[in-house]
């Protein structure tokens, strides 16, 4: 498809007083989204996003993580030109947002905070309306593209039904279809599997993989960490408006130490010994005792356990999941509002 070349001189940049440093030097790089000190303070004084420096490489499937209220949605809205940043700059597809919205957004498909539909229109007519809103969309191919998008998300059979009769999962699929009306360079998907049954979730994940393999960059926010882990190549973690970390998913998980796991019929004694050995955060669950491993040789712990008369069925270190990394980074459970 046609796309604005990343190396084009930026005609909109000339009037940009605040972000002069971001004017030309970044347009040649491979990032699809790049923010510099992006900040949003709402009218009430609440700081929603605080000095965000986010870089989403081209071709990545980028997971965007954070507890509720951490500023993810505000960030996405700033990237899509819906909210004006208080300060800082955001570039999408190499062009400044929101100034270049008209040239950038036709190449971006978005699902933001769930689908929004006209209940009195059929699923098909909802897509026709969104497509008509895009001035670059060719009216001659509209019906074909709408049918293809409906087919792609498995809604072809329900296309004529009024959207108000759709289930939550069907609405979600229709929202996704709207993002897929045209070939896109970037897909921004905010909680795309929300409301879907497990089969639907799997379908969406395989759709995301399929799109990514076609070269579309996917920016995916989700509260399902295993989803991010299964699908994403890169991830960023936000908490309380700040970016805590970003990088390859594999590196993020590897950065966190694994959990020591002891399986034993004497969990109480085992927990006591582990604490004596300097293990932190000891958790007992039936016959499993888990803890953060202390520094030093792990074999010394097995010896201490045996010396204390603790019978051991199993002993080992479990690899850290992204969830562990997340909790370690944000210092809180995932569903806690920031």
């Amino acid at each position: 498809m046609d796309q604005p070349s990343a190396t084009d001189p930026d005609p909109e940049g000339s009037g940009d007083g605040a972000g002069g440093d971001a004017g030309g030097d970044e347009s040649g790089d491979e990032s699809v989204i790049r923010t510099r000190a992006l900040t949003k303070r709402y009218r009430g004084g609440q700081l929603a996003v605080d000095g965000l420096d986010l870089t989403v490489p081209a071709g990545s499937v980028f997971g965007f993580l954070g507890p509720n209220g951490s500023g993810k949605t505000t960030t996405i809205r700033m990237l899509m030109g819906l909210i004006e940043p208080t300060s800082g700059t955001a570039r999408v597809l190499g062009r400044p947002m929101p100034r270049a919205a008209r040239t950038v957004l036709p190449h971006v498909g978005a699902l933001i905070e769930g689908p929004a539909l006209y209940g009195f229109l059929s699923g098909r007519d909802n897509l026709v309306r969104y497509d008509a809103a895009d001035p670059t969309a060719d009216p001659r191919t509209r019906n074909t593209r709408v049918a293809a998008a409906l087919d792609r998300v498995g809604l072809a059979a329900a296309a004529g039904k009024k959207a108000k009769a759709y289930s939550l999962g069907m609405k979600q699929r229709l929202g996704l279809a709207a993002a897929l009306l045209q070939p896109r360079r970037l897909l921004v998907l905010d909680e795309p599997t929300n409301g879907l049954d497990p089969q639907g979730m799997r379908e969406i994940r395989s759709l995301v993989r399929e799109l990514a393999s076609d070269g579309t960059t996917v920016f995916l926010s989700s509260h399902l960490l295993d989803e991010i882990e299964q699908v994403c190549t890169h991830a960023a973690v936000m908490a309380q408006g700040r970016l805590i970390t970003q990088g390859l998913v594999a590196d993020l998980a590897a950065g966190t130490r694994g959990r020591l796991v002891v399986t034993t019929p004497d969990p109480a004694d085992a927990a006591r010994v582990l604490k004596e050995q300097g293990a932190g955060d000891v958790v007992v669950a039936e016959d499993r005792v888990t803890a953060d491993p202390p520094d030093g040789e792990l074999a010394d712990i097995t010896m201490a356990l045996v010396t204390a008369g603790v019978r051991v069925r199993g002993f080992g270190v479990e690899r850290a999941s992204l969830e562990d990394a997340f909790v370690a980074l944000t210092g809180e459970g995932f569903d806690v509002a920031g």
Partner: protein, 309 residues
């Protein structure tokens, strides 16, 4: 959000930029027409398929039917009616000529029913989309804020015209069924042919529709202020009623020429021979002023607005 530091953002992006990137494939010659036409057609289609729009039009169509039947019953015993209310005294002529039902119905609906229905459609234009969340998807499509607002205003204006014509056509139909048609007498006492009378009726309908452009712009502005469609509709209709009341208070006569409703009933002057243009021109000028002031305010507000729904 702070209005001051976001002002002008959309103004630059929406106005100065070319409608498409230069790297788009060549488009047909009617590029500009398509740019606005596609969304406008879809907007019309969407608006006029809503049950609410059709209900408003049905109410408007019912007014001439009720007036016609009432006049028929009232005059069934041969007594003549007298023009009541503040409207032009067309009503007494209906029994002689059904065409006068058109003028009577427009005079009856213009003070409230017509502007109220405009207030509902205009108030809901932006706020309703914001409330449903569909506004964010239209804007990331990207509809373009200026383009979307112009489309909305054009649609509301179309609704003004359609609503007025619904009243006029309904009145003409009822008038033709219940009363005789024929040459008619103007307010000045001269005779004009039925064909010329029809022409005057059409002209009056157009003037009535144009009289509503001020309310339409006001409603659109209110619609950009809130994310609740209901609140925007209620505010617009509330303003309409307030202005109508203030227009009746003699002590405010210095202000009254600036009320959008002040010259509304001047359309009756089109039934004079020769036509008395002064108030008609004042009315149209005032509507243009309201459209310019509140249209600009709506534009400035909408371009600077953070879309958080």
């Amino acid at each position: 959000m702070s209005q001051a530091d976001v002002k002008g953002r959309g103004a630059v992006s929406d106005v100065r930029l070319p409608p498409r990137g230069r790297d788009q494939p060549p488009q047909p010659a009617s590029r500009r027409t398509t740019f606005y036409g596609t969304l406008f057609r879809n907007e019309l289609h969407t608006t006029f398929r809503r049950w609410r729009t059709l209900a408003l039009l049905a109410v408007l169509a019912a007014v001439p039917i009720l007036v016609g039947i009432a006049v028929k019953i009232e005059t069934g015993d041969g007594s003549s009616t007298t023009g009541g209310g503040g409207g032009p005294a067309f009503i007494s002529q209906i029994t002689n000529n059904g065409l006068f039902l058109v003028f009577t119905a427009l005079a009856a609906t213009l003070p409230f029913f017509l502007p109220m229905s405009i207030g509902v459609i205009a108030g809901d234009a932006i706020a309703g989309e914001a409330n449903a969340g569909t506004l964010r998807y239209l804007l990331v499509a990207p509809a373009g804020r200026t383009r979307l607002l112009l489309t909305k205003y054009a649609t509301v204006m179309t609704f003004c015209l359609v609503a007025t014509l619904v009243v006029a056509v309904s009145a003409l139909t009822v008038g033709a069924v219940l009363f005789p048609l024929g040459d008619l007498t103007t307010i000045s006492g001269t005779q004009i042919t039925f064909a010329e009378g029809l022409g005057r009726a059409l002209l009056i309908a157009l003037v009535v529709a144009a009289s509503l452009t001020g309310v339409a712009a006001l409603g659109l502005f209110v619609s950009t202020l809130t994310n609740s469609g209901i609140a925007a509709m209620a505010t617009t209709v509330g303003l309409l009623i307030t202005v109508q009341i203030l227009d009746q208070i003699p002590q405010l006569h210095a202000l009254q020429p600036y009320f959008f409703s002040h010259y509304w009933l001047s359309f009756a002057d089109l039934m004079r021979e020769p036509v008395y243009w002064d108030d008609l021109v004042k009315n149209l000028g005032l509507q243009a002023l309201y459209a310019a002031v509140f249209g600009s305010a709506a534009w400035a507000r909408f371009l600077a607005k953070d879309i958080t729904t």
